[in-house]
Every structure is written in C-alpha cells, then in structure tokens.
C-alpha cells in the first residue's frame, strides 16, 4: 500500500477509443466505478486484504477477521487522508481533489464508520489486536493531520519530513498486515514472521515513493520532502533499485537459513523481480498513476503464486 492515489491521468489521445462499440451508458457507469475505486482508494482495500491473506498463507495461520479489519482500516485511513489533503492535491490530482471535495461529507462519515467497525471487530481479537488496529490511525495523526503542528512550531507534519514520512507509512501498514493476523490467532512472533514483516516494511516503503515521482512538483510546492524532491528522479530510481535488490538478498538469505519455505521465497522473489522492472519505469513512464497501481498489484501476483505453490490450485 502506498500513501498516494494512483489514478491514471486524463487521456488526450484523439484516436478511436477501444470502447467505441460499447453503449455510452455502460461506459459511463464503468468510468464512475473506476473513479470511485481509485479516487476513494477503495482498490487499496482489496490489495491490503490480499496482503493479510498472504501473511495467513506464509505463516500458516487459521483464517480470522484480520483481513476485514485491515481492509476497513485501510479505507478509513486512506480516504481520510484524501479528505485532509484535498486542497493540497488540487495541483497534482485535480480530478481526485474535485471528487473528494464533492463527496466530502459522505466520505467523512464512511471513514468514521469503517474505522469504528474495525475497532469494534478488533475487540474480539483481544488487547493486542485492538492496539495494532489503532496503530495506523495513530500514525496517521502523527503523519498527516494538523494535530502535531498545532502543538508548537517545532512540530511539523511528519508527512513533510524526508524518509520519516514513508517509513511511518510503511511501519504502520507492515505492523498491521503482519501483526493483526498473528494477534487474532494468538500465535507467537516467530523468525518467519519477522522476515515477512521486513519484506512488507521495505516493499511498502518502495511503493510509497513511486507515486512521489509523479507528485514531485506538487510536493515541493507544499513543502513535503520526498526522495524525488530531495534527490531527483534518476537517483530516486537508483535508490529504489537498491532497496529492491537488498530485499532480494534478504529473502535469499532467509530461504538459505531455512526460515522461508521455497514456495514463499519463490513467490516473493518473482514479486521483487516484477518490482525491479517497475522501478525501471519510474520517471520514464507517461502514466505514472498506472505505474503506482501496478506497484500495488504486485501483491496480487505474489498471492496468486503462493496459492499455486502451496495449494496447487
């Protein structure tokens, strides 16, 4: 999961569109569904749930409410972030900003209800599950809301601080995605769980920085310091290569010492190979929004491979 929305830019291509033969009303409904899924970050809910299910598979945990709780929290936090950033997003994502502004009240109530439901569901998992569920919300308050700066001028929104911003996002989600199914299952934290946590931590960090390439000008304008803002796009691409390659090495080592199973290592390595290819496109692609979505969709690839490798489906 990443912190930025990844909607494709508006096409100005004058060529005949692929859907020319489809009835206009159907096309319209299709666009509306796409807008709702992307602008409200609902698609991230599915990705997040798939990530939790991946953890279930790798750690061989029984199915529990963790995927639903993470899905609810993901929607609440990301849609809440869209509401808070609607004004700042006017420059980088005018369509998303307009969508969020138009549906601000509905989104606000929906995000509050979904987080409330997530907290209530987490109660059934015990105190640790509750604490982990509250973590992304708490991190979001530190990360993006105006509460921290309101305490004093020396506290600026952590969202504006280089590396800290992406690390907070990655930590919150890695803890939730890995910790919540473990907490619900009342399982112990094993070395395998630690390896999976590191994988999700680094991977989420990379996925957070990919959309920052597209938003480099807007972020610089509002004082948000990201890797592309601080180091430029070319060096950012190299940093992302480095992180992905380090992760590859880490997975190989974890496999070689017997922590990771062959199936899990293979699925993750294929996913990382996919991530390296995507990193090559960073700053070279005309549709950076789609690139970010592709980055998130990598988890679908890993999950599908795991299913094939472990269950033989």
């Amino acid at each position: 999961m990443a912190s930025k929305t990844n909607e494709p830019p508006v096409s100005t291509d004058a060529a005949v569109p692929w859907h020319a033969d489809v009835p206009e009303s159907v096309v319209d409904v299709g666009y509306r569904v796409r807008d709702v899924l992307t602008y409200s970050s609902t698609y991230l809910v599915f990705i997040a749930m798939i990530e939790v299910l991946t953890v279930h598979l790798v750690l061989s945990l029984p199915l529990n409410p963790a995927p639903i709780v993470v899905g609810l929290v993901t929607f609440a936090v990301y849609a809440g972030d869209r509401i808070a950033d609607a004004a700042d997003d006017e420059m980088s994502s005018p369509e998303r900003s307009a969508f969020v502004t138009r549906h601000r009240t509905l989104l606000s109530v929906l995000t509050a209800i979904t987080y409330g439901l997530a907290v209530a569901l987490a109660l059934t998992g015990g105190p640790i599950a509750l604490a982990i569920t509250l973590l992304p919300g708490g991190f979001w308050i530190l990360y993006a809301s105006d509460w921290l700066p309101s305490l004093g001028s020396h506290f600026k929104r952590l969202k504006r601080v280089l590396i800290v911003n992406s690390t907070i996002v990655a930590s919150a989600w890695a803890i939730a995605v890995v910790g919540l199914p473990i907490a619900f299952a009342e399982a112990s934290v094993t070395p395998l769980a630690a390896v999976v946590f590191v994988y999700f931590l680094v991977d989420t960090f990379v996925n957070t920085e990919i959309p920052n390439v597209r938003d480099v000008e807007a972020d610089a304008a509002v004082g948000v310091s990201t890797l592309p803002v601080a180091f430029g796009i070319r060096r950012t691409r190299r940093i992302l290569y480095g992180l992905d390659l380090a992760l590859v090495a880490f997975v190989v080592i974890a496999f070689s010492v017997g922590i990771l199973t062959a199936a899990a290592a293979a699925a993750i390595l294929v996913g990382l190979g996919y991530a390296l290819v995507l990193a090559w496109f960073v700053g070279r692609n005309a549709a950076p929004g789609r690139l970010a979505i592709a980055g998130e969709a990598k988890h679908l690839v890993v999950f599908a491979l795991l299913l094939v490798f472990t269950t033989g489906i």
Binding site: I113, G116, T124, P127
Partner: protein
Amino acid sequence: MAVPLLIGSVAIGASAAILAWRARPNPGATPLVWLLIGQSWWSTCIVFSLSAGTAAEAVFWTKAGWIGVMTVPVAWILFSLEYTGRDGYLTRRNVALLAVLPALTVVLAVTEEYHGLLYIREAGVTARGSVLVDQGGIWYTVAAGYTYLLGVLGIVPILGLLSSGATAFRGQSAALILGVTTPWATNVLYNMGAFPNVGIDPTPIAFAISGVAYLGAIDRFRMFGANPAPAWRAKQFLFDHIHEGFIVVDGHDTIVEMNRAAAETLGVDVDRALGSPGSDVLPLSEPFRTDGERELLTVGTGSASRSYDVGVSELTDRRGETLGYVFTLHDVTRYLQQQQRLKVLNRVLRHNIRTETNIIQGYAERTSGETAETITQRTARIVEISEKGRDAIDLFEDTVNDRAGTSLAGLLERSLADARDAFPAVEFEFQRPDEDAVVSEGLSVVVDNLVENAALHNDGEDQRVTVAADVDDDRVRIRIVDNGPGIDDYELDVLNSGTETPLRHASGLGLWLVKWGTEVIDGSVTFEDNDPTGTVVTATVPLRRRGGLPHHNA
C-alpha cells in the same frame, strides 16, 4: 448479549469520536472526542474483563476501565461549557481542579488492594465462564456523586438551547441531553440495585444509545456546522463593548452589573461600583421613571462636559414582578453641540437678514411703481425663508423637550385659523376626528406647512383646502386635500431621494420641513394626486394617548 452490545457501543463511539476529531477546532469538538474516547475505553475494558481467562485479568481490566469512567464526566462539563460559548471558565487552573478528583479516583482504583476506599474484587463466575467483578467502597460513592454532579452541571447550559429559535440548536441540545442522560440514568438505576441479575455495570451498554445520539447531533443536526457558542459570547461582548453605557440595578437600587462604557462615563471603577446604591453612582436630578421618558445627564464641567440621554427599562420576572432596572446612557453631546451651533447660526442669519431686508424695504418705500413693489415682495419672501429656518430649529427642539404633547384637534384648529388669516380667498374645511388625541408638538410644523403649501399654490377660481383627521389604536392620520395644480413630480423626487445637490434641489424649505417633521416624531408622509386636480397629502404619526389633555391651553 452484553458483549455484542458493548462492541456495538465501541463501534458507534469510535465513529463519533473520529467525526468529532475532524470537526476541531469548532467549540466543543475536542472535549467531545475525549468524552467518546472515555466511554469507548470504558466499554472496551468491560469487554476485555468479560473475556478474561483469569480473575486477576478481569480485575486488571476493570481497574483500567476507571480511566474511562472518570474521563467522561470531566470531558462532558468541558464540552458543555465550550460548546455553549462559556469557554472563559476553561482556564488551566479550573480544568486541573476539575481533574483532581478523577485522577485521585484512578490512583485509588489502581492501588485498591492497599486501602479499601474503593474495592474491586472477583465476585464469582457466570455460567459462560466470565469472571464477575464487584466494586464499591466509600470512594465509589464519592466518585459516583461527583460524576452525577458534573453531569447535571453540564446539562444546565445545554437546556437553555432547547428553547432556541433555531431548529438545529434545539435538535443538537435534545440529542446531547439524550446522549448524556441515558448512561447516567442507567448508572443511577444500577447503583440503586435496579439490575440485580445483569452481573456487570450496564452503563457502558447505554453508551450505544448515547453514541447514536452524538452521531445524530454531529451529522443530522450539524453540531459543528451550526454552533451556538458565539451567541452567548456575543451577548457578553455587546454588553462590554457597546458605546452605550448600561447599568443594571436590582429592586433595592443596588448595582448588580455595569459595562465599561458606563463606568468610563461616570468615572467609576466597575468592581467598586458593583454593590453600591444606583442613586449614588447615577446622579439623576429627579426620581427615574420607566414610562419611556428620558432625562439628560451632564457629566463634567465646561468644554469637557458631556451630555447623556438616560433611559430606564424595567426588568420583570415571568409573573410581571419587578426584578430591577436597566439604565442606558446614550451620548448626545455631539447632537446637542450641533443643535447649539445651528441655533446660533440661525439667530445670526435671521437677525442680519431681517435688518438688511428692513433697510432694503425702507429704500424701496422711498420710490414708487412696479419695481418698488417687486422689491418689497421679494424681501418679504427672504424674511419668510429665514422664518422657515427658525421653524426647522424649533421643530427639533420642540420634539426633544416636548414631554406633555398637545391636542390633535387644537393643533389643527390653530393651524387652520392661521391659514384663514393668511389666505382669505381660500375656502378651508375641517373634518374633526371622532375623538381627540394627544400628539407630539412637532406635528404643528408639519401641518402648518402642508396647509400653507396647499393654499399658497392654489391659484384657481374655486380654491378649497380640506383638513381631515382620524384616530385609530396607535396612530393618527391627517389628510390635507386641495384642488390646486398639484405638486411637481420633480419636487417629490428630490424629497424622496433625501438629499439635494447644487443642480438638483427643491424650490424651498416647506416640503423638507414636512419630511423632517414627520420623521423626527416617527411618522411618515405620502403624496397622491387628487381627482381632478390637486394633491392629497397623508401624514401618519404615532399617538401618545387617546382623548385630550386634561390641562391643556390649546
């Protein structure tokens, strides 16, 4: 059944807390967040206590729940004060004082095994295996009493909004009162032993209802979109900052409130003046009256003196019994200075004009012929205009000093008598009102000018002017009808625009005097065409009282 309800109350409470968090910095939003967090935490701890595997774990979560228990009443009173605009009371010192007993209660709950002031102990196991926890002790009663006290104190300011004219505020206050009274009532009933078989304190379950009520207040009644906080502050702000002085005395002439303007006017310190006799601070020349009459108060001497128009209004309770009086001090110094300047200017001008015109007329009389006659007529006209200027001054002075008023019938008769003398060729008709009434003396200038105007410009063979008056409940209507050529539309346009320019002006002062005269006595005047020719002028002015004056010399 209790656990699902508690989980539901947490879901609702957490959702409402998030919405309230987003509504910051609206008044009341932050305390409401704490209130909702407190009650959700209380419910959460009960859930964990009921799900605990051991008695020690259940007791631990019950103890932890006391943080939420004691957060709720403090957050509620803070919310109530901030939401209704009384945040002036929310100083750090006051908030700290409010939090002393709750903090002490939490400490006593955590350390209960060492003192027994507040005991928390295992009381058995339910059929489903949940550990039951019993709580009590002297301090439990103290904490409950404190909670109820803050609950009631917090409701008081919000009750006032139930009678608000704004639907949103009524809805918000009703939802808030429902939200706070439901768990409180549940807790009172539980402590009175009304739920002997429940096994747990059902108060957090009632938070499900209060959460829905708060959500309703936030979303349905736009609690943070339409906020009553400024209204209460505005009243105080107006009282403190308005230029008019306000002094409130009780029924025993003791000053109970005074604003800054009044204190500055009277040269007193507000804190010292409070509690003093009103008659000592406000040196009125005669006992005050509450019948709408006003008195002029002069403060200071010489050029530094200032004049204040003093008004008195009676404050009564619902049964009409006198509670006290409000004195208003309106600074009229500039108005009086302006009036004084006008009077001096007018006297000098009138004197000089009359002197000069007398000299001109003297020279004119030494000659003869049409030219001499024209000079005499014109100089007489100049004198007449200067007399109108005097009337304008008298008009305002008479109105200010006119306390007794005058008889309507007498006023009209005097005006008609003067007109008959001045215009013998005109036939005047007077339609007396069915009953006499008392009106402002300022009306005489209006009637005199209207009658004169109707007669002066009536140059036909059959010259008629009719004056009619009728009296209704609170107004007097006087109609002056003539059959002359009518008033030029241009003159009326200038009059209606309310101002003149060197290029756009009326031909004289008469109609201006009519307009100013009716305005200064809170009346109005309308002009209509008469059929077939002429004008119908209707002046409507307030009625002082029905019937004539008992000792009037009209």
